[in-house]
């Protein structure tokens, strides 16, 4: 890791936040663009989530004896019904610990 990489990442992060506030006039984006941008979290986060759950340390698919899948499903169900961020995180991690320490 180099400091330069951290600084570049900082600049990119800052510019995405700054550009619209500083450069845009009111209503530069039409309604449709705003709708599409609202899908960005749904498009980006699963690309981080899925590989961390379904792949093992070597990057190969791991469907059998994978407690992460079961724990993630528990978290999804709790999240779906509770719509509570903390309950979702808590249920996922606790069920993961239950599986790795007691069940497996």
């Amino acid at each position: 890791m180099h400091w330069s990489l951290i600084i570049y990442c900082g600049i990119i992060t800052f510019l995405t936040r700054f550009s619209m506030i500083a450069l845009l006039k009111k209503d530069t984006f039409d309604q449709k663009t705003k709708i599409i941008l609202s899908y960005v979290p749904s498009a980006i986060f699963p690309a981080i989530i899925f590989p961390l759950i379904f792949l093992d340390n070597t990057g190969n698919l791991d469907f059998e004896s994978n407690p992460k899948i079961v724990a993630a499903i528990v978290a999804v169900i709790i999240g779906y019904f509770s719509k509570n961020v903390i309950a979702t995180i808590f249920s996922g991690i606790v069920s993961y610990w239950f599986l790795i320490f007691i069940f497996y």
């Binding site: 890791m1 990489l5 951290i6 570049y8 990442c9 900082g10 990119i12 992060t13 800052f14 995405t16 936040r17 700054f18 550009s19 619209m20 506030i21 500083a22 845009l24 006039k25 009111k26 209503d27 530069t28 984006f29 449709k32 705003k34 599409i36 941008l37 899908y39 960005v40 979290p41 749904s42 498009a43 980006i44 986060f45 699963p46 690309a47 981080i48 989530i49 899925f50 590989p51 961390l52 379904f54 792949l55 990057g59 190969n60 992460k68 724990a71 993630a72 978290a75 999804v76 999240g79 779906y80 961020v85 903390i86 979702t88 995180i89 996922g92 991690i93 993961y96 610990w97 790795i100």
Partner: protein, 232 residues
């Protein structure tokens, strides 16, 4: 209390409940930074310089996977593209501010601060000091994030690896999506992104699976949006 202080205080108060999940997220980031051998200075430096949880996790994850700088930077850019929306939505309220205010506010414009201040701006359009609300919320997020990162850096040497704290990363991101679980179009977009990233992990070169999966899923989102608009 004058109006500026009052608005600042309201921002701090409004954002506070959202800080509860930020604490474990920050701790996890610190622990993982230490786990990967990045060292305390760089781990903490990331929280100061980048100040964005998702960006920092992606940076760590891709770096430890051996991705090149170009792939890391474009993936961080993709993760951050949601901020374009925040800025676009807020520009209506902030366009009259001085340049230095826009710089400060951009630095602290994280998801949680945006969420509460956007609501406040809609209801208090006439308050000419309303940007103090965003400053209060953003500064609160900043302080909590830095303290919890430090906590994680300190705990990193104590927390045993058997606890599998890395699993907290996908779970934390998953928790950010819960409000979209009931929207079928969002769920389709999520599945497209996740499946492409998982099955493309080895197939897509240069560890570019995050950006390829995200762009493909966004393309599907455009397609789904068009269907809805044409029906109207």
């Amino acid at each position: 209390m004058n109006n500026k202080l009052k608005t600042l205080y309201k921002g701090i108060l409004d954002v506070s409940p959202l800080m509860i999940p930020v604490v474990p997220f920050g701790i996890i980031f610190g622990v993982i930074g230490m786990d990967l051998g990045i060292g305390p200075y760089m781990t903490f430096g990331m929280s100061i310089i980048v100040f964005g949880g998702a960006s920092q996790i992606v940076l760590l994850q891709l770096f430890s996977g051996g991705a090149s700088s170009i792939v890391i930077l474009s993936s961080v850019g993709a993760v951050n593209s949601r901020h374009l929306l925040y800025g676009a939505v807020l520009s209506e309220h902030l366009s009259g501010l001085k340049f230095i205010w826009k710089v400060i506010i951009s630095y602290v414009l994280v998801d949680q601060a945006f969420a509460v201040s956007n609501e406040y701006f809609k209801k208090n359009k006439k308050n000419k000091n309303k940007h103090y609300h965003l400053l209060g919320g953003g500064a609160t997020c900043w302080t909590i994030w830095q303290i919890s990162t430090l906590g994680g850096i300190f705990l990193g040497s104590i927390v045993p690896e058997e606890l599998g704290l890395k699993f907290a990363i996908p779970i934390t991101f998953l928790a950010l999506l819960i409000n979209d679980f009931k929207k079928i179009k969002n769920v389709i977009v999520m599945l497209v992104s996740g499946l492409i990233a998982t099955f493309g992990y080895h197939l897509i070169p240069f560890k570019a699976y995050i950006i390829v999966a995200a762009l493909s899923a966004l393309f599907v989102a455009v397609f789904l949006t068009n269907i809805r608009l044409s029906k109207k």
